[in-house]
Symmetry: C2
Subunit: 361 residues, 2 copies
């Protein structure tokens, strides 16, 4: 979806890296996050200020190979090894949760932490340690979430990768202990594998850096250089070219483009669902967005589609029969009558989906 | 050390990445290693053919975030989860071994594998599974190694990141089951965090891909694009510009440059050690190099320096007193009278080291 935008921006956002640049493992050997390119940190913090979606003052900044590596680093930083008496720290999230959480958490069968399923049915003692993954807006259903585990030993990790104005109204500067973001969901550059964490506690940040050092000896400098350029172009369009509105040389504005496209797609999807009659979607919500300076609808990156036909227990199977590929609800710890539909695919794929969906009855 | 070379090559090796390029997670959704850029695979395989250091025909190609991620992926692929009866698979390497092996192996206290120390003192039953990390030429001492574990359950991983003609004579095309390489040790681009594995068994390669998918959802496309360009320039200098020898526009030849520099540095280091009298180094070895087409000395990327002064038990401490930073031998499972010295540092740092070393007596 974002490719069309970047083609329009053109050469202004291209990255040039001379062969002799950024050859070393380290960017600033004396820094807490020694493999972080200072320019990347600067542009990521600047973007938070432009958008107003997260507090960054007083936060340590940790770069990672996507939010995926960062959330593993955060779980590692929050837990301690299991011993004879003490099992690994349980990791929970309310269903439906991101389907990759369980296999990513248990990939190594770590002695530090272990997937423990749906937070809403998890029974923890008051002082028991547990890690809650709080994804907001939530993958797969787009719900705006707060932590549900409130015991003294609960440690939330806020996965805010979709908390950007194309997907949801920006209602406040988030200010949680650990907040994860990724370039992928902002600009569409998934292949760059680059994310960052804003971390309040210095010791937690230090342990996350240690984890990333040991698992990949830092993070690609090339990705950091490219993201520096790209995030810079995004912010420039809002900060610098305001004076030149109407100028045909003005850089297009990413969040305006993406919100327009997401709203179009959600309108098309809701129309198809209405025309079919066999499905339902989460209710549309609205809110005042401090970034857009108007009330906007939520436009999640995924649609959590529920089959309402009597007798249908497996929505993914039903859709497969109509040549629609969607991930089944039980993979998200949820109901098999639901599926997750990707709202960020290429135009051709998305249009075909809408067309096929509307003809099911 | 390599930066000077790449400055000389100049713009010919620069990478340009338009913002709309390589945005997706996947490069070829149908391929075994679906996040591998085909151009990168092509250039890496081409380089093996130019140099003649590894067989690549019939091998699957897996890209990773440096050899570090690949060796974890390989351990994961070779082992199965521990159960009540069965502990995690032991991982061994003959001392002195790369000091990062133990903490990287045990980072997550994985249920699949666990560091078990020096291979030469490890007692395994005939059928017991165990993984041996075979680093050749070896970090830290430069020794050319073969696997020492010969039991039926022994599974070697060949870490060949230094098996390039600047460091050691190329004596054969290596053809082991799992062979790891990294751009970092070939061209100096450590910050690119990019390595690859040549893997004989399809199922092992598939599991490695799964591991990399779950831990970082693939590998930076930007790093792959940059490495494609850089490895291409390295091979071109040997394959294309042979006709234009003496042409001032000819691209400089990386391995010639690096071997010259390594030989100079080793000469300087051996002279300093001789002038000091307080130390010894591993004996120089020579061999016919099929790539250089002449007999060459070994020029390891690290020097394994031993203090021969009576009464000195800790060489790192002695050197620290002379303002020389070196990693102590016990970190490599070896003797504290030894230290590892980096032979790839910047000229200024290396020259200072040699000067300070020669004055110790």
């Amino acid at each position: 979806m974002y490719e069309a935008f970047w083609r329009e921006v053109g050469d202004r956002a291209a990255t040039v890296i001379p062969a002799w640049q950024a050859m070393s493992y380290s960017s600033d050997a004396a820094a807490l996050c020694w493999f972080l390119e200072p320019g990347f940190e600067r542009e990521a913090r600047r973007l938070h200020r432009v958008v107003g979606n997260a507090e960054d003052d007083g936060y340590h900044f940790v770069v990672g190979t996507g939010a995926t590596q960062l959330y593993q680093a955060a779980m590692y930083a929050l837990s301690s090894p299991s011993t004879g008496d003490k099992p690994p720290v349980p990791v929970v999230s309310p269903a439906p949760y991101y389907s990759s959480y369980p296999p990513q958490t248990d990939l190594q069968l770590s002695g530090y932490y272990r997937w423990a399923g749906d937070a809403t049915t998890f029974a923890a003692g008051d002082d028991d340690e547990c890690i809650e993954l709080v994804c907001s807006p939530n993958n797969p259903d787009g719900a705006v979430r707060d932590a549900v585990m409130t015991s003294a030993g609960a440690m939330p990790i806020h996965d805010l990768v979709y908390y950007w104005p194309q997907y949801t109204p920006i209602t406040r500067r988030a200010a949680h202990d650990i907040m994860l973001f990724t370039v992928s969901k902002i600009t569409g550059h998934a292949g760059t594998r680059l994310g960052w964490a804003l971390v309040k506690d210095r010791e937690v940040a230090r342990k996350m850096v240690y984890f990333i050092d040991r698992s990949t000896i830092g993070v690609s400098k090339d990705s950091q250089l490219r993201a520096t350029k790209i995030l810079g172009v995004v912010s420039d369009a809002y900060e610098i070219s305001q004076a030149s509105d109407g100028d045909s040389n003005a850089v297009p504005r990413l969040f305006d483009f993406a919100r327009r496209r997401m709203e179009e797609r959600w309108r098309a999807l809701r129309a198809a669902v209405a025309s079919s009659g066999a499905f339902s979607l989460p209710d549309e919500t609205t809110g005042y967005c401090s970034f857009n300076k108007r009330t906007v609808t939520d436009c999640p990156a995924f649609a959590w589609l529920r089959c309402e036909k009597e007798g249908v227990e497996d929505c993914a199977e039903l859709l497969a029969g109509h040549r629609i590929v969607a991930r089944g609800g039980e993979q998200f710890g949820g109901d098999a009558r639901c599926v997750r539909i990707n709202m960020l695919d290429r135009d051709r794929v998305f249009n075909m989906l809408v067309q096929r969906l509307s003809s099911i009855n």
